[in-house]
Amino acid sequence: MLRKRIVIALVALIVCPTLMFAAGTVSGKVTFTGTPVKPKPIDMSKEPSCAKEHATPVTTETVVTGPNNALENVVVYISAGANDEGQVPPQAVTFEQKGCQYLPHVLVMHTNQELKVVNDDQTSHNIHPLAKVNREWNKSQPPGTPPISEKYEKAEFISVKCNVHPWMHGWFAVLNTSHYDVSKGDGGFKLPNLPPGKYTITAWHEDYGTQTADVTITGNETKDVDFTFKAKAY
């Protein structure tokens, strides 16, 4: 009887650490159906210092697609089950104004994570995130001035614009979790390091809306979750 208990205890000791450090992955692709609006070329002639940075005119970034109907700039994140709301990453994320464009077009950050806004152009920009849940602020950033440091306390998808250059448009995705990815190129995304548990994955596109999927991780497996958005005619 005692030996049985010792065996069970030993087995538990071996198995439990393995389970404790088990981490699964959710990965997949984001694609679209239908015909998306063609990106339009942006006329930067009113800002010659930026126009000359682009050999060919840049195009609008509301819908960016890749090969095989891939949909880019979709924020895929854990909206339930992540339990890392209090774990604010110590490093800052950077939003760059370059060639009168925002890089990246969609910047994801954790609530209360430091955001640095940098102006790499020879013209002034004003950085005007149109927050509705968080506070709305608007600051001028001439060339050669230090980065602007800010942070957002609440989760929100915030539209960002520059009033001086009306074609400039970007997004801040402020999330309660660090389990996120942004689809690029082939529309692929990957959410690693997920302990066993039940999760809700949300995929957000600035124009095509939001979709969710539920997934359960039991160990070290990789679960495949794909999202398909319906393109809009205009």
């Binding site: 002034s124 709305e136 602020w137 600051k139 001439p142």
Partner: protein
């Protein structure tokens, strides 16, 4: 008597029917369809403090309905019955973003900021000058405005910016202001002469996506007022706190206070039809603003070979 009885019964029946209709009409009225003005939900009473005055939201309810709700709406969301005819639109108090503040961009104004805004009105808009209301009434209305957004319960007002003493108006100050106006690219919206005709002016939209025009300094005759006041201190605060909810950003992080005063002096000369100390100085200089040269700091008598640092831009 037999003849009367049927009449009385009919009368009774008619009255009973009328009564039933009335009762059911009342009951139906309480279940009215979801249209028409809703009385605001019970909210936490708020207070305001302006100097020695204390305002109470409870005391302002009737004044708000009488004077304010027509434009700002019963719910304080800017959707009053007059709103479709107005441009700019009435302020939406539910988002607690305000144009005229002494506090940094993105922060709540002080009670005094709101008190002044009500009393002063907003030039070039339909917001009247409410100095006709007693100070206590205006203080009560400030407290009432704070009931429309829970931000007032959760956040403190921002710390008012420090406005240093104004230096003398000189042609050098004006010249420096002109240089700043160019370097900070104010002209991109306001235009080179501040007429509101800059290259980006036509595409400006406010934070509710409504078209909005930049301020035209040259218009307005001898009484050119700004949205947020009429004094040099008011102009200083406008660009050092930004006009929240509009394209006008805050320049607080990129202008030094003395430089900001130079910019104020230059901006006054853009108000070409207004008598001002600045325009007098400009006239004394024959209407010509000289190019600005950075003052060179005196080289200390030492073996240090470093070049002197001039005044900051």
């Amino acid at each position: 008597m037999n003849g009367l009885k049927p009449t009385r019964n009919l009368l009774g029946a008619a009255m009973g029917l009328a009564f039933a209709i009335a009762v059911s009409a009342l009951a139906f009225a309480q279940d009215a369809p979801d249209v028409g003005p809703h009385p605001p939900q019970p909210v936490k009473p708020m207070e305001s403090h302006i100097g020695k005055l204390t305002g109470h939201s409870g005391a302002a309810k009737m004044n708000f309905r009488r004077y304010c709700a027509g434009c700002h709406g019963e719910l304080g969301d800017g959707n009053g019955e007059n709103a479709p005819w107005l441009d700019p639109k009435p302020r939406d108090f539910t988002i607690a973003t305000f144009k005229c503040r002494s506090t940094p961009t993105g922060t709540l104004p002080t009670d005094e900021d709101l008190f002044k805004s009500i009393g002063r009105g907003f030039t070039n808009s339909n917001m009247p000058i409410w100095n006709t209301l007693a100070a206590q009434e205006r203080a009560d209305l400030v407290a009432f405005i704070k009931t429309f957004s829970e931000r007032w319960e959760k956040e403190k007002a921002g710390d008012p910016i420090q406005v240093p003493a104004e230096p003398p108006v000189t042609i050098e100050s004006i010249a420096h202001g002109k240089l700043l106006f160019t370097k900070l690219e104010c002209w991109k919206c306001h235009g080179p002469q501040g007429k509101g005709d800059g290259p980006s002016a036509a595409t400006l939209t406010d934070s509710k996506d409504q078209p909005i025009r930049p301020y035209n300094f040259a218009a307005g005759g001898d009484d050119s007022r700004f949205k947020c006041g009429s004094t040099n201190q008011d102009i200083y605060k406008i660009f050092m706190t930004g006009v929240d909810g509009t394209p006008m950003p805050s320049f607080n992080d990129v202008i030094k206070p003395n430089d900001a005063w130079d910019l104020v002096h230059f901006l006054r000369t853009l108000q070409v039809h207004r008598h001002s100390a600045e325009n007098e100085v400009l006239q004394a200089a024959h209407g010509v603003i000289p190019p600005y040269t950075e003052p060179v700091a005196p080289t200390p008598a030492s073996t240090d070979n470093k070049s002197p640092s001039g005044g900051g831009n």
